[in-house]
């Protein structure tokens, strides 16, 4: 078996992982990144929209500042974020964008002169200043007071990831791709690396590191319908949770997007509705005005997703081999509009559905989109519970998103957090040394070897890995989806506990040799069910509605009892996570108040006189 030793081990080579890696490599440390796929295939590459940073270069961004960005971010989080972290993020975002420009990102730039734009289907005019020509420009995004989202056409994630990986290649950062981390190596106090399975050969390897970083992105794939890449199965969160020491934060905060296409759950942009698209049911009846007479399809993402789900529960969804869905109608916008303003949607419909949105309805349903929860860290990115373990990006609960993430803040978080946390990792590496006990490494590896042997031999049981995974999907979608209530969540938790027991009794039907995909899923699935239980149990306990977490039986945001972050740990052998709570923020630059959208009653933290 191969053993590798390095100063920093980044589990995950997307934007957050590579940004931290670059900081450590620049300071002269050895860095190895592990990745399920070649680094440039990471899900970071799929982000199209852009990155928020208060540069204030474009006309509609005039007067913007980190203060305004901070206010948007805190409101967006529904006061669930750590305000010290949100402040760090907003202050550093402009530096990070400029640095990316220096490294080679072809950001779109300010073009001086008059131009037009649409808002709420109406045409407006703006004029860009001559003195700003050639500086990084920005576009509008939901929930922001200014145009602040820096972009490169509709390929922001792609260009930033390629630039980042170029920088990593330049600095000699080692990337081992097609590998999967199965377990952290730790002595109960220090994290010392990971046991890893090679997805080319099936062999196990050990990586010993003074610092380990988890940057594996979101865990959307515990849901059946997700806009996430198929690799977003929460691998990094699972190995952190399995230590029994490291808590995951706010796992119940899961964001759903209203318009994932059926069957493959690729996202079509909110711009469809922004430009006048409507949602229809199986009778081709436009139903949103029935529920939201005022805003209709333009209510906030979570509100629209909730009503869509409600409507399908009334039996008004369209049946398909892939489950129920609704229709998105943009036919009336016309070919010209679709080919220019919604070019990407036009292409998605033609490439992936084989339909023409100018004449056909688009099958859509609300789809899991973003995980606000993750490995809980302090503001330096250091995970709770183990020394030498850091986390960054969507895999982390750093926590600037609280209970709802603003568009354009997630992609920006990867590089801004990477920059800040990378500097902290460097300081840590300069001051901390560890020794690697060989017995511990051997035992950790042997435990994983044993799991693999048992799965291949069928000694653990004969459960079918796909049947167990489907049972997890069903339980989560029903109980911990867009709408939540005590009764369904209780049933969900109970079912997931049964599914968890079944997931420990999987037997392979194939031979498990080499890069066998059935074995890979079988190794991962029990951990995925544990993540699902963290989501469901957290959602059951949290008897309020905040951000994307919507309880039908507790529709109010309850600052009196729930201005807290959920921390979930998993004791070895347990069938449920242990939950504790900590204050949502240590500082309150902006005291809890109205978000200005979404409505809903608020129970204040302190009774008003």
């Amino acid at each position: 078996m191969q053993t590798f030793q390095t100063d920093l081990l980044c589990i995950g080579a997307g934007l957050a992982g590579e940004r931290v890696a670059i900081e450590a490599a620049t300071a002269g440390f050895d860095v190895t990144c592990l990745s399920l796929v070649p680094a440039r295939r990471s899900h970071s590459s799929a982000a199209q929209g852009g990155m928020q940073a208060a540069l204030g270069n474009c006309a509609m961004g005039e007067g913007d500042s980190p203060d305004v960005h901070f206010e948007d971010t805190v409101k967006g989080s529904d006061w669930g974020c750590d305000q010290e972290v949100a402040r760090l993020f907003c202050d550093n975002a402009p530096i990070a964008m400029r640095q990316l420009a220096a490294w080679g990102v072809p950001w779109n730039r300010v073009v001086p002169g008059k131009s037009t734009y649409f808002k709420g289907g109406k045409l407006f005019e703006k004029e860009e200043l001559q003195e700003k020509e050639g500086l990084i420009t920005a576009r509008a995004f939901g929930g922001t007071a200014k145009w602040r989202t820096c972009y490169t056409s509709d390929g922001t994630g792609h260009t930033v990831l390629y630039t980042m990986d170029n920088r990593a290649v330049q600095l000699g950062v080692v990337v081992h791709d097609k590998v999967e981390a199965l377990s952290l190596i730790h002595d109960g106090e220090n994290c010392l690396g990971a046991v890893v399975r090679c997805l080319k050969t099936g062999e196990l390897r050990t990586y010993l590191a003074r610092v380990t970083l988890i940057a594996t992105g979101g865990f959307g794939r515990i849901y059946r319908e997700s806009t996430n890449a198929v690799i977003n199965d929460g691998g990094g969160l699972i190995i952190a949770l399995d230590t029994g020491l490291v808590p995951l934060g706010n796992m119940e905060a899961v964001q759903f997007h209203p318009t994932g296409i059926v069957p493959t759950d690729i996202l079509v942009t909110e711009g469809c509705r922004g430009d006048g698209g409507t949602l229809l049911d199986k009778n081709e009846h436009r139903f949103m005005p029935d529920y939201e007479p005022d805003k209709a399809e333009l209510a906030s993402r979570d509100v629209v997703s909730r009503w869509m789900t409600h409507h399908m529960r009334q039996g008004l969804g369209v049946s398909s081999p892939y489950g129920d869905h609704l229709w998105l109608d943009i036919r009336h916008l016309g070919c010209q509009h679709l080919a220019t303003k919604l070019r990407e949607v036009d292409e998605i419909c033609k490439n992936f559905l084989g339909i023409d949105p100018a004449v056909d309805l688009i099958p859509v349903r609300p789809t899991q989109h973003y995980s606000m929860g993750g490995v809980r860290t302090d503001k330096d990115g250091l995970a709770y519970g183990l020394k030498g373990l850091f986390a960054a990006g969507e895999a982390a609960c750093w926590d600037m998103h609280g209970f709802n993430r603003l568009g354009g803040n997630s992609l920006a978080e990867t590089v801004v957090a990477g920059m800040i946390i990378g500097a902290k990792v460097v300081t840590y590496l300069q001051n901390h040394h560890v020794s690697f006990p060989t017995g511990l490494v051997r035992d950790t590896t042997a435990a994983q070897q044993d799991r693999i042997k048992r799965l291949i031999s069928g000694k653990s049981g004969r459960e079918n890995v796909f049947a167990v995974r489907n049972a997890m999907y069903d339980a989560l979608m029903h109980g911990a989806g867009i709408f939540r209530n005590g009764k369904d969540l209780e049933a969900c938790v109970q079912t997931l506990q049964e599914v968890h027991a079944r997931s420990e009794k999987i037997g392979l039907r194939s031979n498990g040799r080499g890069a066998n995909p059935e074995l890979a899923l079988a190794l991962r699935l029990p951990g995925m069910v544990r993540l699902a239980l963290c989501v469901a149990q957290g959602a059951l306990q949290r008897t309020e509605s905040r951000g994307s977490h919507a309880r039908e039986d507790h529709p109010e945001r309850n600052d009196r009892d729930w201005l807290v972050r959920t921390l979930a740990t998993w004791q070895p052998g347990a069938s449920l996570p242990s939950l504790t709570f900590e204050p949502a923020s240590t500082v309150w630059s902006i005291p809890p108040g109205e978000r200005g959208y979404g409505g809903g009653k608020i129970i204040p933290a302190t009774p008003t006189a």
């Binding site: 796929v37 080679g104 020509e133 050639g134 290649v169 890449a229 084989g354 080499g514």
Partner: protein, 248 residues
Amino acid sequence: MARNLTFSIFRYNPQDPTSTPHTDTFVLDETNHMTLFIALNRIREEQDPGLQFDFCCRAGICGACAMVVNGRPGLACHTKTKDLPDNITLMPLPFFTLVGDLSVDTGTWFRNMAQRVRSWVHTDKEFDPRALEERMDNALAEEIYELERCIECGCCVAACGTAIMRPDFLGAAGLNRLARFVLDPRDKRTEQDYFEIVGNDQGIFGCMGLLACEDVCPKHLPLQDQLGMLRWKMGWAGIMNLLPWKRT
């Protein structure tokens, strides 16, 4: 109306001493909007859980799922079964090292390519966090983005006649990458510097001009234009190299 589709899929697991290269046949009922992503996942879940293939974003953005579909390299995620006949033959991309069945190792080759073309902005400038960003014309930024849209799926090299005969050929993907930096004013490399990298048969002079790279590129990148532009520039740089008084 609903068809039964017959999939003939290449099978071989190099890690399994009992495995030999062969073709397996699977039959599936076609459903609305079916893509090869859906079909292959169904085959794996319902018929053969050991079947190896790669998907990642499944939205045509990451390039993971390139394979040879009825003889033509392309992305499986946006290949719709309704555009294919009843019999569908799936083979792994040639040129790259086979991992198993339809899965190949593109990562090693592309990272090596990035090192060979020294795929980063070469500059002496230190980044100053207090300074404004350097200005750039928006039209130029968009031009750079057009070339940066490559998703490293490997279709172009898999379809390339030169690459089949010459494994060290940089391929259209590598030459396109270099062209992206030639275009970028932030990169201070000279034409002589670029000539050192691609002014040979492994680079710009290896291309036989068969145009397959551009034909199969799922992002419709203007690969041949880049190749032509580089060959012209490098040819000129090559001539300059021969003139003793121009060599410094």
